[in-house]
């Protein structure tokens, strides 16, 4: 049996209330909220968070990592290798980007399902447009990770599907541009409608299914109007909430996020359909297996949607670089050394500490010398999943940060070890000594175009 072994959806903590756009700009916006990646998140860090959730639900180690995004951190070098490092995947696991459009993400899932590999398919995106635009309002930020493989631990069996491909320009973005342009909506609505009907019929046919066999279908794509107008015409009885009202459309991440959301509540035997409108239409069916009953998602999508804090519109604009604010009058951090980062990959990306074999004392960062003077008598201890307590904290309004002030805590880990580190996803007035935290992979800053990744703590909510 081949299909999904485990999965993880990641929804960042912050939400923008769309009505704030209207209040500030006098136009744009709308009802509901959209998800917002924090200033210290990008598609790589969100991909890591989704990947961690997927790998937490399985003992399986992937031999391939696919990373998809429309808003990758880098071009001309691979983004997936950073995700690979933070997930501490083996040297022999390949890491490949599949970038450029939402279709790349669904194509990566196709490629994984149609191969014989165990593949971790990660997609992450940050969607925005010019202030007041439809893309700004409808967009969202998030990530998804699907662990694809074979065997008895498959929780959602791949039943196959169909695709309808076509060349039509309904949205486009030139390389280097931050936002997209759109053709008038009716054209795309009609074309997508025709393609969806064709792909759906072909998929049912090729899989030997009837409409009534399908328990639930998620229909997603960046052409919101086409989805709204045509999803109900496919003939499926139950169309899943596409979550856009509360988190927006997370682009490349959204098909995986909706599949994760459906699997969170699927029962053995359920057939779920994933229909993606992206430069053509792709339909894929999965059947929940008996194994899904024993699979508990570490952090269900619904729980992350419920766990949210707000971000003011102006701060959202500054986080996206649209509104440039005055930084503290301190030197901007210099770029990290590539060679230093390379040799310290275990620490920088994997948060691997050392523990003295004699005294059991923990060292973050890892140390070679023991308190008794012994050298290299340390065990390596992965700390990324450790839980800690804030034993002291401060708010630093002087230090450079892409989004001052810095909330900084002395974190003492439950299993031993201390790390003074920045606390993410908090407002300065809500931190208390004694609060529990977990670790999260973040982008500390960008220096000379190099994204400097490391870990922060975040409240255990």
């Amino acid at each position: 049996m081949r299909g999904i072994i485990s999965y993880g959806g990641y929804v960042p903590y912050r939400r923008l209330d769309r009505s704030e756009i209207t209040a500030v700009m006098g136009s744009g916006g709308g009802a509901g909220t959209r998800s917002v990646a924090s200033f210290d998140e990008d598609t790589t860090t969100m991909g890591v968070e989704a990947g961690r959730l997927a790998l937490a639900g399985s003992e399986t180690t992937p031999d391939k990592l696919f990373f998809s995004s429309v808003s990758p951190t880098y071009f001309d070098r691979t983004n997936a290798t950073g995700v690979h490092a933070a997930l501490r995947l083996p040297l022999g696991t390949s890491a490949v980007d599949m970038l450029g459009s939402q279709r790349s993400a669904i194509g990566a899932l196709d490629a994984a399902l149609d191969s014989s590999s165990t593949a971790l398919v990660i997609a992450a995106d940050m969607r925005t447009g010019r202030p007041t635009s439809g893309d700004e309002t409808a967009g969202g930020d998030g990530a998804s990770a699907l662990l694809v493989g074979s065997g008895d631990d498959v929780i959602a069996e791949d039943l196959g599907g169909a695709v309808a491909t076509a060349e039509f320009v309904d949205r486009w973005r030139e390389p280097g541009d931050a936002t997209s342009k759109l053709w008038e909506e009716r054209f795309g609505e009609v074309v997508y409608g025709q393609l969806a009907a064709r792909a759906w019929a072909d998929a049912l046919d090729s899989c030997g299914l009837q409409n009534s066999d399908v328990s639930i279908a998620a229909v997603t794509g960046l052409h919101g109007r086409a989805i709204t107008r045509t999803a109900s015409k496919l003939g499926v009885e139950s169309v899943a909430d596409d979550l856009t009202a509360v988190i927006g459309n997370t682009g490349a991440a959204h098909p995986g996020l909706l599949l994760a959301s459906m699997l969170d509540t699927a029962n053995p035997g359920d057939i779920v359909a994933l229909v993606t409108y992206a430069d053509g239409v792709q339909v894929r069916f999965f059947r929940a297996t008996d194994a899904i009953a024993g699979h508990a998602s570490k952090r269900p999508v619904a729980a992350q949607i419920a766990n949210a804090g707000s971000v003011p519109y102006a701060k959202f604009l500054s986080w996206r670089g649209i509104l440039e604010v005055e930084p503290p009058r301190r030197p901007e951090p210099d770029r990290p050394s590539s060679s230093a980062a390379y040799r310290n990959e275990d620490w920088k990306f994997g948060l691997v500490a050392s523990r003295d074999q004699e005294s059991a004392e923990m060292f973050l960062p890892p140390s070679r010398v023991s308190p008794d003077g012994g050298i290299d008598q340390m065990d390596r201890i992965a700390m990324a999943d450790a839980v800690g307590t804030i034993s002291a904290f401060t708010i630093d309004k002087l230090v450079y940060s892409p989004s001052p002030p810095v909330v900084f805590g002395i974190i003492d880990f439950d299993g031993g070890g201390r790390l003074p580190i920045e606390i993410a996803d908090v407002d300065a007035d809500e931190v208390k000594v004694g609060d529990k935290v977990e670790m999260t992979f973040r982008r500390l800053y960008v220096g000379d175009g190099i994204s400097n990744y490391f870990w922060k703590a975040r409240p255990l909510r």
């Binding site: 630093d396 002087l398 201390r418």
Partner: protein, 399 residues
């Protein structure tokens, strides 16, 4: 093995200190030339009379050339010294050891920092290539962790403790107002400081040392030669230095209510000098008040206050100019600003003045009740949990 010190083997026979200011019109060379000139004049010597130089600067220059070139020191060794914010004291320590060893008859320690050409606020570290995982926090942020930790450990109300440390700033500004070399010469009140906006934790800008350019220097000789140069030299009783393991930032047992490196350095210094009760034996102290909570902890780590009692001693005025043990009578880092390479020598300069009765009458401490005229300098570099600590003791007489 053991730390034996060089008690009464070396004496300071001349010192100089230029005004600490935003010297927009002076280069590092100018600061060095002026401080050295004052010091040569103080000792009645010329540059060729000095056999070897130790030059402390944190990041204004590199190598001995930065001193030998502007001063045109010919054919002499110049060692550039750096040890974080204790750089100036470290230069003095090295010069003293060189003389004590017999290698040189006369040595100069000079420290200087040209901070204000950087264009940024505060002190900023020279960038060393790194892997990008280093802690991102200002020194103010790290030291701001002390207040809530101390309040909790010793059961002091946090608002009251905030006022206590503001009293430290008030005291140091009061002293600095009576010192023409200080950068800030205006008194301020603890109440005003408490009403200011916080910049890190509960600390306001006035809880932080200022930033200034400055330079200071000392000339040292063997103790037995001191009276050839100077009628009232200062004898080196102790020089102690501890470089920490950084355990405070990795060990959950560290609670930010003590600066262990400084306590260890003080213990070593007291042993070298033969001091058993520092509070009664020390006439005055210059300590590293980089942030007001630092001075709070130091009163306990240096043995001036019992653990948990510094806050009440401060409220009682123990460390005021007219108190039992005046601390930072020159105004400290608070009033002087902190040109890193110069500060340690500036602290020693105040002992040079006070212990010999040469401070300005407005701030000269009363030494009449003292049997031994001993002063202490404490200088540190780094952060709580990860620091270097220096303590020296100087006196007017050989025991």
């Amino acid at each position: 093995m053991g730390s034996h010190g060089i008690k009464d083997q070396v004496a300071i026979i001349g010192m100089g200190c230029i005004p600490f200011r935003e010297h927009w019109d002076a280069s590092l060379d100018d600061l060095l030339i002026d401080a050295a000139a004052l010091t040569f004049e103080s000792a009645g010597l010329a540059k060729d009379d000095v056999d070897a130089y130790w030059f402390g600067t944190s990041q204004s220059a590199a190598s001995g050339l930065a001193l030998s070139m502007p001063l045109k020191i010919e054919g002499k060794p110049v060692t550039r010294v750096e040890n974080y914010c204790a750089t100036g004291s470290e230069a003095l320590r090295q010069a003293c050891y060189a003389v004590a060893s017999g290698a040189y008859d006369v040595a100069m320690a000079i420290g200087a920092e040209k901070v204000k050409d950087g264009g940024y606020q505060g002190l900023n570290a020279f960038p060393i290539p790194h892997d990008g995982t280093k802690r991102s926090l200002t020194a103010a942020g790290m030291y701001s962790l002390i207040l809530p930790a101390y309040a909790q450990k010793h059961g002091v109300d946090e608002d009251e403790l905030r006022m206590v440390v503001a009293k430290i700033a008030e005291k140091n500004h009061y002293n600095g107002a009576r010192n023409p070399l200080a950068q800030f010469r205006r008194e301020t009140s603890a109440e005003l400081i408490c009403s200011m906006a916080a910049v890190a934790g509960r600390l306001s800008v006035f809880d932080c040392a200022g930033v200034a350019d400055g330079a200071a220097a000392a000339i040292v000789v063997r103790a037995e030669d001191a009276h050839k140069y100077c009628a009232d030299p200062l004898y080196v009783k102790a020089l102690a230095f501890v470089s920490g393991t950084g355990s405070g930032v990795t060990d959950p047992n560290y609670d930010f209510t003590s600066l262990p490196e400084c306590k260890m350095a003080a213990d070593d210094a007291y042993a070298q000098a033969g001091i058993t009760d520092p509070r009664s034996e020390i006439a005055m102290a210059e300590v590293h008040d980089c942030f007001t909570p630092t001075e709070l902890l130091l009163m306990e780590d240096l043995g001036f206050s019992e653990p948990g009692q510094a806050w009440s001693d401060i409220l009682e005025g123990t460390f005021n100019l007219d108190g039992a043990l005046p601390v930072n009578p020159d105004g400290g880092l608070k009033a002087f600003g902190h040109p890193v390479g110069a500060s340690g020598l500036r602290m020693h300069y105040e002992l040079w003045l006070q212990l010999r009765g040469k401070a300005h009458e407005e701030r000269q401490i009363d030494l009449s009740a003292r049997e031994r005229k001993l002063g202490l300098v404490h200088n540190l570099g780094g952060y709580p949990g990860e620091m270097v600590g220096f303590v020296s003791i100087l006196g007017t007489e050989v025991d």
